[in-house]
Every structure is written in C-alpha cells, then in structure tokens.
Symmetry: C2
Subunit: 169 residues, 2 copies
C-alpha cells in the first residue's frame, strides 16, 4: 500500500464529509485509501482509490464519478478489479446497473449460473437480489456501477467461495 | 440514410413495444432508424441507431443499454454525436447524468456558460434545468446518458442557436 499524496487522502475525506446526511450511507460504505493511479492516461475514467474495506476480496479501486445530493439519488462509481478480485455477495435495495468498460469479469445472481462479462456488456440487477461481480482470474475488469440511495444502503453479505468463483457452469 | 438490415428495424420496434406502459414515455421520445454501425469493433458500447426525430440537430446515434421496467426506473443510453451534432434544449424531471466515453463536446445549462467536455468527464444536471449537449464542431462526441423515468418524460424545448453553439465564453 503506497501513500504518495496526502492531498488525495484529504480530498477523499472532503468528498465523504460533503455528502448530504440523508444520502451518505452508500458512499460511506466504501472505505478507500488514496493511491496515485499509474498509467491512468490510457483509461477513460479515473481509477480512484484502493478499496480497503472487507466487502471486497483481492485488490480493487473505486472512483466516485457521481455522488448523491439532495436532488439526485443516483450515484456512479468506476470500479477497477485486478485479476481475481471480486465483491462479496451483496444486494441493492434499488437494484444496480453494471456497464463494462474494459477487461473480462464475472457476474452472478443468487440462484443463477455465473456469467462472463466483456467490454461493452450492460447488466441490470433487480432490487434486493443478492449478487457478486469481479474480475476473471487472468484479466483486469473495469466497470461502472450505477445505483440509487433512495431505498437505503447496500446490504453486504458473505464472501464468494472459491467454488463459486471458479465454477464452470 | 442507409437501410441495411430490416431485422434491426424490427428489433427496434420490439424494443419500443416491450416497454412497460408506465415507463414507456422516455424510450418512445427517441425515434430511430436502423443503421448498421461501421467500425464498431473499436468502440466500447454499441453505436446503435441513427436518431431521426426533431429533438436533435445534425447526425447522432443512440443505443439503449439499459431500459426501464416495472422494478427499475433508470435508463442508460449510449449517444454518439458526429461533429456539430447536438440536442435541442431540454430538461429531465429526474435530472440527468452524462459520462463522456470519447471525443470532445459541449454542455450548457440555461443561464450558465457553455462547458467543454472531454473523455472521462462526468456531469450531474439537476432536475428540470434546461440544458443541451453535443459534439464540438471538429470532434465526434460519445457519451452515456443516465436518467430516470420516475417523475415523467423529458421535456423538449427549442433548438440551440448557432450563436449559443459557437459561443466562446
């Protein structure tokens, strides 16, 4: 873990503190440590900061592109998973939209087979349906995550097992 | 205007007709003609179909990546503006999020100066605030448009004048 820029840490703090109280729970679910992204020039959206909470396994980064406010409940995060990295199982009370910007990854809804996602794919996950997403074992995976804070925060569940992650449906 | 594939026209019709009644007004605001996109392999998201309604000036394409349904009110369109193309002035009752995927374009809210947008930029437009967006005069402009059908359809207003489009603030 590299601390290259204290100003970025400060900026993240300001971002977190500036969220309106009623809508802050979603944003505050994502704890990050500032890391200066490398080779960011070739990316479309900023890579953001390393995710350090326990809701992810492996190395992942998030950049909040759009945060909620008193008029707008929709938020957009650009999430970069290194190979093998993934979320824990979780659900969103307003559902979630995933748009794949680059790489190859996996997406699975509870009770359904794991799906392979590629650049350009768009997924609409229903409200309150447990699911997980992340990179495949040999590819980075960059995706936009779109959801709403309107009906409450993300519910985080158990980690994805190795059997679930490696399943060949 | 090239009709290369009748099946695509049929598919667009099916897409329009399959929208749930309560949420169909947003989608039906976008009238398209099927055109087989060229050189699409290098793009992230599909280019979609040429927009033929009177709410746009110039040549633009839209691909609906995420449509609304009875559980999800958020929709996502990938819009490609050829150089000089732009929307008319319009407003969204739930606001709009714009994420720039490629190229250079303009964005202006009523009463504010025109802004230049570049790849990677993210804009949050407040509800009911008239605005327009489009390509600069010498660059293609590809952007994701995210909004919600929850509070009603887009309100379309007058075309952007040449003076507004060319303004150097």
């Amino acid at each position: 873990m590299k601390f290259k820029n204290g100003l970025l840490v400060f900026s993240v703090m300001v971002l977190l503190l500036s969220c309106k109280e009623q809508n802050s729970s979603e944003i505050q679910n994502i704890e990050t440590v500032a890391v200066m992204p490398e080779q960011e020039a070739s990316l479309i959206f900023t890579k953001g900061n390393k995710i350090t909470n326990n809701n992810f396994v492996g190395t992942a980064y998030v950049s909040m592109l759009i945060s909620v406010d008193s008029l707008n409940h929709t938020y957009v995060g650009n999430v970069t998973f290194e190979p093998g990295a993934r979320t824990n199982w979780h659900s969103h009370p307003s559902g979630q939209i995933i748009l794949v910007v680059d790489g190859e990854g996996y997406y699975q809804e509870k009770g359904s087979p794991k799906r392979v996602l590629q650049k350009g794919d768009a997924v609409k996950c229903p409200p309150n349906l447990p699911h997980w997403h992340g990179a495949s074992s040999d590819s980075e995976f960059i995706q936009l995550a779109i959801s709403s804070s309107e009906n409450g925060p993300t519910e985080w569940l158990e980690p994805v097992t190795e059997e679930e992650y490696n399943a060949n449906n």
